[in-house]
């Protein structure tokens, strides 16, 4: 997997720069992940999962969240949730949708509906769950069910940061719906040297991306 990206670690230089700029002390020990495309552009919305390779793994805490359906599109189109989480799939469109997935980590279907008639769906196994609508084949959503203790999605600037991690070895995995092979997230190992150091990891996608999904169509349009 190393061929997919380059990783850069320069905690000491960054720490010095932060100190010089007078950034508050609390930030000094943080972890920052930055994901860029092959062309060096920031990659927004990339899913970040970080697992510790040494020491005891922190247990994940399931969450309750939702993936709405607006203008014939899932909103948000990508969700990352810990194993055991519950996701509601309300339909805010005028037209009916039939949500389903046949991805191995979670097979389910919600028969044709509008509004929110069904209880949330529990995602109890880790992996990538592709969600579709059986009526509107262009609708695509993704649920990344993670067992990683640290997770999130990159901002518009392509960055994700967290509080300082305990010293040790870690693996970061990056997934985005525009990666060529959606079944294989990019992986990279990194270390946190000592308490209080800032760690920065840069990941660069080495292949061209899939075309971006088009913006939502009008709700009254159908699939003739």
């Amino acid at each position: 997997m190393y061929r997919f990206f380059d990783a850069v670690r320069k905690p000491a230089a960054i720490l010095a720069a932060i100190a010089a700029c007078g950034v508050p002390w609390a930030l000094a020990g943080e972890l920052s992940i930055r994901v860029v495309t092959k062309d060096g552009l920031p990659m927004a919305g990339a899913v970040v999962e970080i697992r510790n390779l040494t020491g005891q793994r922190r247990p994940v805490v399931p969450v309750d969240t939702r993936m709405d359906q607006v203008d014939l599109a899932f909103a948000p189109a990508v969700l990352v949730v810990p194993v055991g989480s519950h996701i509601a799939f309300p339909n805010s469109d005028v037209v009916s949708h039939q949500v389903y997935s046949f991805s191995p980590p979670k097979r389910f279907q919600l028969p044709l509906y509008r509004g929110k008639p069904y209880p949330p769906v529990t995602f109890d196994a880790p992996g990538i769950v592709t969600v579709g609508c059986n009526i509107h084949d262009n609708m695509l959503g993704y649920v990344l069910v993670t067992d990683a203790p640290y997770y999130g999605q990159t901002t518009q600037a392509g960055t994700w940061s967290s509080e300082a991690l305990p010293p040790g070895d870690y693996a970061v995995s990056i997934w985005h719906p525009r990666l060529r092979n959606l079944a294989k997230p990019m992986l990279q190992n990194f270390s946190v040297a000592a308490t209080g150091t800032r760690t920065e990891v840069l990941l660069r996608v080495s292949e061209p991306l899939r075309p971006e999904r088009l913006t939502a169509k009008r709700s009254g349009w159908d699939e003739y």
Partner: protein
Amino acid sequence: MPSNIASRLLLAGLFTSAPLAAQQLEVTLDGRLVTSDSRTSFLDGGLGKLRANASSDGAELGRLRFAMSGALGESFHYVLDASAWSMNDTNPIDLTEAYLEWRPAPSGVWRSRVKAGAFYPAISLEHRGTGWTNPYFLSSSALNTWIGEELRTIGLEYNLDWLGAQHNSQFDFGLTAAVFGWNDPAGVVVALRGFALHDRQTPLFGRLRTWVPGGGRQQRVLFDEIDGRPGYYVGAQAKYGDRVLVRALHYDNRADSAVFDAAIDDYAWETNFDSVGLRLQSANDWTVIAQWLSGETFVGSSRHDAWYFDAQFLLLAKQLGKHRFAARYDWFATSQARSIYPGLLGRDRGNARSLAWTFEPLARLEVTAEYLRVDSNYNWRRWLGEAPQATESSLQIGVRYTFKTGRR
């Protein structure tokens, strides 16, 4: 078509025990202001290509549509679409589509679907709205106008889809095959009148007024079984993400052109055609649609009369916020290859240019201004005492308001 199938579908739709939340009612009122210099419309017994006449400028009903759709259990859903087009039709309001679809949620990358009832074969790439409405123009392309006039699948359609997008691929594929009846007269209008450009769909129990040589204006029945022989079509489609869609279809109604049905005063028209379509969409809201269709139709014992027909168009559209701009160029031709009346072989060819601007001030309101110009040359216009060459144009403003049950 047999009225008992439609009425059973209707009853199934209205009195189902499925949850009411999954039922949807849609009502669209489409009003028009039209000015035209067209020849006498085919609807009024002429050989004009447009729905409007030079003599009928003013306010008109474009369409009044009532549609119901919804779930029946977990794997079925139904669609009932009824419209009124004009007060002069056989039935003031009539069905254009009525079908039941079995579409179980996929349990793997292959999905089967079955449609039963009366519906459109998947040919038009222009008609993207529910009820086979065209969001780009008030008047459809010559090719798709013909689909709306003479074609309907009244039978069974099977679809096999490979859902690549759900399976880590950038491509989706689909195959379709159908067996149908009650489409034996298909071909009579394109052969005798040629292609036209408008938005009126022939209702399932209605008729299409058209001109017939020596017979003047007639109400042609298009959805009728004459020879007891089912027709078929087979097709395929491929998609690249949501950017590229390609479709191809071969249609053959397998009519026995020697069989005459006195009840509707028509033969079975033996019609077959091939159709290919391409739709491209870009990230900056451009849409390109191109379609091509080429077919032939025969009528009479030993196929004594034969016609070839071809139509193509290229459509370019751009969405800019609440505004949509569209331009389209159409080519069409019908030519008679042989006849029991030699020397009078019909030959109609022409092109059309259309421009439209649609503004959506509210979510359910669309205002469209459309300019359409058709240049055609049809030698049979001489029978009406007209010059074969005609340039017809129309300017229309359409206001479409849709009421839907639902929260938005």
